[in-house]
């Protein structure tokens, strides 16, 4: 509908603007519950929270189709949710339950879901660059118009495989988008201490289209991602996108005392000034797309959904030990 009442204040349609908000809130609420489950010792393994970076997964995945592909990282819950995963099956996987996406065999760092094009989160830094590029290759060879997105943190810039894939992708004009989520830190080290030169210059070196944008502005992420995804879909080749962002929590949930590697004031600044959900919510209100009541309702509905999902996961059974040697071979 293009009546005056529903006319969007940006090029992005109104319903999409609201969906961007909703999806970010969903991830935030999901991750808050992960934090809670983890600190209550209900979740085994490690939990790398995506809180603070939601605009990237959401902005990018909202520009994708369900049959497009993604690969994700150890900090992958946001990507999986943004691509369409169900919170209940995700929580179940995080808790190691039979009902989980991977029957409890993958866990937090390995959520995979063919139904939503999720080729899998990966616990090897940079380890999925080949998989994403290969899916893009298959899409091109099989004359499908599916695009693959490879999410990775700036830490992966230290991995050689990434450069092999950038070269192959550009050489063969593959529909793959490399999305560098630059949250400033490789674990407990500022990326400037591990990364020589300019990040986007790496893409320039391969002649690859690239852009750097604000990862806290979901509309900007969506616009930039849409542009390069559609370009790739038309067969015009890959792109390298860098989004500047910040993770609010520790590298993983147990990383509490962080002052030795990043100042509290820096954390405070991002949390209070640059929060993607607050910023987008404010923008929606300022531009008359939604009022506070609408946003509150979005949040309240999601809280109910997430709490139900947690309950489902907590109450579902662990896999029977007899399943341990199933699924090794197809």
């Amino acid at each position: 509908m293009s009546t005056a009442a529903t006319k969007s204040p940006s090029k992005i349609p109104t319903d999409k603007l609201l969906r961007l908000y909703k999806q970010m809130v969903a991830i935030r609420l999901f991750e808050e519950r992960v934090n809670d489950l983890y600190t209550r010792a209900l979740m085994p393994g490690l939990a790398h929270l995506y809180i603070g970076e939601e605009a990237i997964a959401v902005g990018v995945c909202e520009a994708l189709r369900t049959d497009d592909y993604i690969t994700s990282t150890h900090r992958g819950h946001g990507h999986c949710l943004a691509k369409g995963a169900s919170p209940d099956l995700m929580f179940a996987e995080l808790l190691g339950k039979e009902a989980g996406y991977c029957k409890g065999k993958g866990g937090s760092m390995h959520i995979a879901d063919p139904a939503t094009g999720n080729l899998g989160a990966n616990a090897i830094v940079g380890g999925s660059a080949g998989i994403a590029t290969g899916a893009a290759y298959a899409s091109k060879y099989l004359k499908q118009d599916r695009v693959a997105v490879c999410f990775f943190g700036e830490g992966a810039l230290g991995q050689g495989l990434l450069y092999e894939e950038l070269n192959l992708a550009q050489l063969w004009k593959l529909p793959v988008i490399f999305v560098c989520e630059n949250n400033g830190y490789n674990e407990y080290t500022h990326f400037s201490e591990s990364t020589a030169g300019d990040v986007s210059a790496r893409a320039d070196a391969f002649g690859m289209a690239n852009e750097t944008a604000d990862g806290q502005n979901v509309r900007e992420v969506f616009a930039v991602a849409s542009k390069y995804i559609e370009r790739a879909r038309k067969g015009e080749g890959p792109a390298f996108l860098q989004f500047k962002t910040y993770r609010y929590h520790g590298h993983h949930v147990g990383d509490i005392a962080r002052a030795y590697y990043r100042p509290k004031a820096e954390e405070q600044e991002w949390v209070t000034q640059r929060d993607p959900i607050t910023l987008h919510g404010q923008w929606l209100m300022d531009n008359g797309v939604a009022d506070r009541a609408v946003l509150d309702k979005v949040q309240a509905d999601l809280i109910a959904e997430m709490d139900a999902a947690v309950e489902f996961a907590v109450n579902s059974p662990y896999p029977d030990p007899s399943k341990v040697d199933q699924d090794i071979y197809a």
């Binding site: 993958g106 090897i124 290969g134």
Partner: protein, 333 residues
């Protein structure tokens, strides 16, 4: 096998592999082959010369020198509906692609709870005595054999190579196939015209015997057969059993042979220490202990980096003579 009206067709080991790839590519358009210099050059070993003429550069694909890069790409392409064959040239380069093989390809099916499949074939080579020195001569089939989720093929004859390769392409799991470089031209044998596959995980008795079992893989099958001939002359009847795949492993055929003969030597071109021979010997001791006349013995590559000089290199690989001497000693003849 039924009597053949026509003359028996002989192919080299290399020709058999090329034929397997060509047939599978004709059968299934999702099969592509990629690697360095595989198209016009037909690989460094010239094994695939001519394939690009039939299938074009879209399907016989020259890659940059990026083994990890194109292997990873192969993993993703396999997941997304293709059946790629990636060619890493020298088995020694397995280390370069090992993350993509062991941490990615091998584990994706399991980690995804059985949802994703990786129907990928990785071509590698093995074998010393080409004077190629320590980085181009190793037989590293024990490495992927160690990893759950992979299947590993080590063919010894043209017939086996063709049938096993075709089975590998039709597999829904990642398969690493080790082709013995020296065998490409040197080993010839009967390969029928008609389509056939050899299922992975079925051992083959290459020669029947009653006094001792020689379990041998890949290049060592020829060595064992040569030794068996020498043994026959001194009145020892040796059985030669070729597992053909290290995983899945046809334990039954190996164990039954040893139960029959009561003696066993395991012979492999991989490094002697912590490798295939140790694994197979322990299997035999566990499952045929009370039928054994004495300990299972092993012969493998010496535990040294493979040297360049012929006089040094030749002593690193088990020989017919070594097998003969050891078997004779074990049989007290």
């Amino acid at each position: 096998m039924p009597e053949l009206a026509t003359a028996v067709r002989e192919l080299t080991f290399g020709e058999a592999i090329k034929e397997a790839i060509a047939e599978e590519m004709r059968r299934d358009p999702r099969v592509v082959l990629m690697g360095e210099d595989v198209a016009e050059a037909g690989t460094t070993f010239k094994v695939l010369v001519g394939l690009v003429d039939e299938f074009g550069k879209e399907r016989i694909i020259d890659t940059p020198i990026s083994e990890a890069g194109f292997t990873g790409l192969g993993v993703g392409a396999a997941m997304a509906g293709m059946r790629p064959i990636v060619d890493i040239m020298f088995g020694d380069f397995l280390m370069i692609i090992m993350d993509q093989v062991a941490n990615q390809a091998a584990k994706i099916h399991y980690m995804s709870g059985g949802k994703w499949k990786v129907p990928l074939v990785i071509r590698a080579t093995m074998g010393a005595t080409r004077r190629s020195a320590a980085q181009h001569s190793q037989s590293l089939h024990a490495w992927p054999s160690h990893i759950p989720g992979l299947k590993v093929v080590v063919p010894s004859t043209p017939y086996d190579a063709k049938g096993l390769f075709k089975a590998a392409v039709r597999e829904d799991n990642p398969v690493v196939i080790f082709e013995h470089k020296i065998s490409y031209r040197k080993v010839k044998g009967h390969v029928p015209d008609e389509d056939y596959i050899i299922p992975l995980g079925v051992a083959d008795v290459k020669r029947e015997g009653t006094d001792i079992t020689l379990i041998a893989l890949s290049s060592m099958v020829q060595v064992a057969l040569g030794a068996a001939k020498m043994l026959e002359e001194v009145g020892i009847s040796a059985e030669v059993v070729d597992p053909r795949t290290t995983w899945p492993l046809d334990e039954k055929t190996l164990v039954e042979s040893v139960k029959k003969t009561s003696r066993c030597i395991v012979i492999d071109e991989g490094y002697f220490r912590y490798g295939i021979t140790g694994e197979l010997a322990s299997l035999i001791q566990e499952q045929a202990f009370f039928d054994l006349d004495g300990p299972v013995r092993r012969l493998g590559a010496m535990h040294v980096p493979i040297p360049f000089s012929p006089s040094l290199e030749d002593v690193t690989v088990p020989s017919e003579r070594q097998v003969f001497d050891l078997a004779r000693q074990m049989c007290n003849k």
